[in-house]
Symmetry: C2
Subunit: 401 residues, 2 copies
């Protein structure tokens, strides 16, 4: 008898009809003889509506009270989903995050799961109950409710699968699985049957919007077998695991990410410790830097170019301005009309020609590259945003079998 953890997002339970659909999917899994634990998010727009209510009263509310407020959203959805399963005459029980044993650190609004005390869930499974658990939430050591931040319900599901040593963790989403490119841009994009954790991590952080990074990292750490599949269509999804079969395509996916701002510090005095000064100042302020390029020094100066997300642009410029006295540079400029297009695939580490084939496709399409960054399983380029969709298409074509 297998133990399966299933996770359904907010859009999968947005209204009564969808809640009933999800209940059917869950009961079908149970009827196959599986024990089932389900992690569910707040319904559709509930979280946004609650945030709006809070903003109307106090836009600067404490994170502790925001967590108290927002965690009610999942409490509503677990109760409704349990009621839908009761109607199908299957034994079921809903549990809030704290009832399910989720213990977190004290970082309200963005808590980390410290451990899960699974006694209650185990005892409910022993009573043959389907167990419905509120995602996104836990309890800190002061007995205050916390939320896990973005992608929290994915993380709840994977952590639970790890703690329960589940046979599989199924993540139900709006899409059928992980594709080689966004099917809305590249209609003949291919759905992958399998993908490694590392490839999925690169795809997730590159904006593929399927699984949140934290959940993939946790799945890799605890070797949880993930499957990304559709809440609406009954077709096989994409399995995420440690080692995958060799597939036909050299790369696993082409992605683009338009949330990119590039800052260039021009004419920096060429002395040791400059990069440290810039990036430690940014890190101290919590600004994540993505791509970094430092030109070779000539004439006693060099240029430092890097990218951040757009919401960090203003803050980053202010921080650099504040460094003016201590580091000496000629000027700072920035652009926010760029896109980062990337290819990902574990196979490319053994295929030195992969990056060249990507550049070739862009050259043939007359698309200029502003910046390049590579890792063992990824190549990213920065190009003008109005070329981004075309770039995804021509690169996908280039690598198609």
């Amino acid at each position: 008898m297998a133990l399966i953890v299933q996770k359904f997002g907010g859009s999968s339970v947005a209204d009564a009809e969808r809640v009933n659909n999800v209940a059917n999917r869950i009961v079908e899994t149970a009827q196959l003889g599986n024990r089932v634990v389900v992690v569910v998010s707040a319904q559709g727009d509930t979280t946004d509506e609650l945030i709006e209510k809070a903003n109307e009263i106090n836009p600067n509310a404490s994170k502790r009270e925001m967590d108290m407020l927002l965690s009610s959203g999942e409490q509503i959805s677990i109760a409704l989903l349990a009621m839908a399963i009761e109607k199908l005459n299957y034994p079921v029980i809903s549990l809030t995050g704290w009832q399910a044993g989720f213990r977190t650190n004290a970082t309200s609004g963005n808590a980390r799961i410290d451990k899960i005390d699974v006694e209650r869930i185990q005892s409910e499974l022993d009573k043959r109950n389907i167990v419905i658990v509120a995602g996104f939430q836990g309890l800190n050591r002061y007995d205050d409710i916390t939320t896990l931040g973005r992608g929290g319900s994915d993380t709840s599901a994977v952590a639970l699968a790890a703690a329960l040593q589940a046979d599989k963790c199924e993540i139900y989403t709006d899409v059928d699985g992980v594709y080689t490119a966004d099917p809305r841009i590249v209609p003949d994009a291919i759905k992958l049957d399998e993908i490694t954790y590392d490839e999925m991590l690169e795809l997730a952080s590159l904006g593929a919007n399927v699984l949140h990074n934290r959940s993939v990292e946790m799945a890799k750490k605890y070797n949880v077998k993930l499957e990304v599949k559709s809440s609406f269509r009954k077709v096989p999804g994409t399995i995420v695991k440690e080692v995958t079969n060799v597939e036909k395509m050299l790369i696993r996916g082409v992605t683009r990410d338009n949330d990119v701002a590039r800052i260039a510090i021009i004419g920096v005095e060429d002395t040791p410790g400059i990069a440290f000064k810039v990036f430690s100042a940014l890190a101290k302020e919590g600004v994540n830097v993505d791509m970094i390029l430092q030109s070779i020094g000539h004439g006693g100066t060099k240029d430092i170019v890097f990218t951040v997300t757009k919401n960090n642009l203003t803050r980053t410029l202010a921080i650099i301005e504040g460094l003016k006295d201590s580091m000496h540079y000629q000027e700072v400029n920035h652009r926010d009309d760029l896109s980062k297009v990337s290819i990902v695939g574990a196979g490319m580490v053994n295929n030195p020609g992969v990056a060249a084939r990507m550049f070739e496709a862009l050259f043939a399409a007359d698309i200029n590259i502003h910046m390049i960054s590579t890792s063992e399983i990824k190549v990213s380029v920065l190009i003008n945003v109005n070329n981004a969709e075309r770039a995804v298409k021509v690169i996908h074509d280039q690598f198609r079998v």
Copy 2:
């Protein structure tokens, strides 16, 4: 430094503006040097909206899951109210029922408070926090969330005041206090400065709609000083306590209750144990009987007449029908076009003429009395419903100073 428990109902926190008003009231109390614990209900129609959501999915949902669902309503209102107080720069913390230590029995949907572990609240008060507590809810011994049923938030507030040995429990409502009659019917009704627990109990159960009976019973048991006052207007309310000063009026109030159905069992065989048979059968089915009248037997038969609430009428008639074989009666009839009008006052026990003055007023107004019931501090009559408002007026006039 006094400790005050304040309770605000759903309409007092129905929207952002009202939440802000309530926050101001609370902070004003704190600024006078009081420690303040606040019990709050779910906002306005939240509970009804959640019930609707549940009915759409499963009209026969378990009470356990209904409690899980409904308790989210107060969780939302405590967070929002805490945020409004944060904006006023006062230290504040919100606590759910289980965080506040409310332990109940296992009767989902209508749980009884077994005890309150006040450690958490005490420690928050010691940190100078205003403490906002979710009313209407607690936790049973299986660590499942329960709700207290109708009037639950009043009961939460009184129980908390008792457990904390608070100096006062203020119940904020839509009205200024307890009146000698419904001011919408009797414009010159008088607001009472004080009333005893027993008088309040009779008024509450007679449909005065100010305080729920369970909360008054608990206040009497633990000698909690209650004050009923307006959430909107800053005027003194009505104090409910053990012994009150003598007031000018002989009675404390005139009430009417239209939720009355009268059943008459005519021509019952005059043998011992008949009343027992009828009323134990009703009690077994959970039907509460209010007024009871049994005629003196003549000709070997007697009549049994009693009243129930209208929603119990059909069930009651079915139960009586089921007794037909074992008790022998000629016929059963019923009326649901009646009203119960009552006068309440601790003073009447020493004033034998009180009931007579009430009957005189009704006679003068040509209002026929169908049934009479009396207790030490109350006289109730059953009359035609279309006479009810007029009856309240003429009785109130009769007793006015």
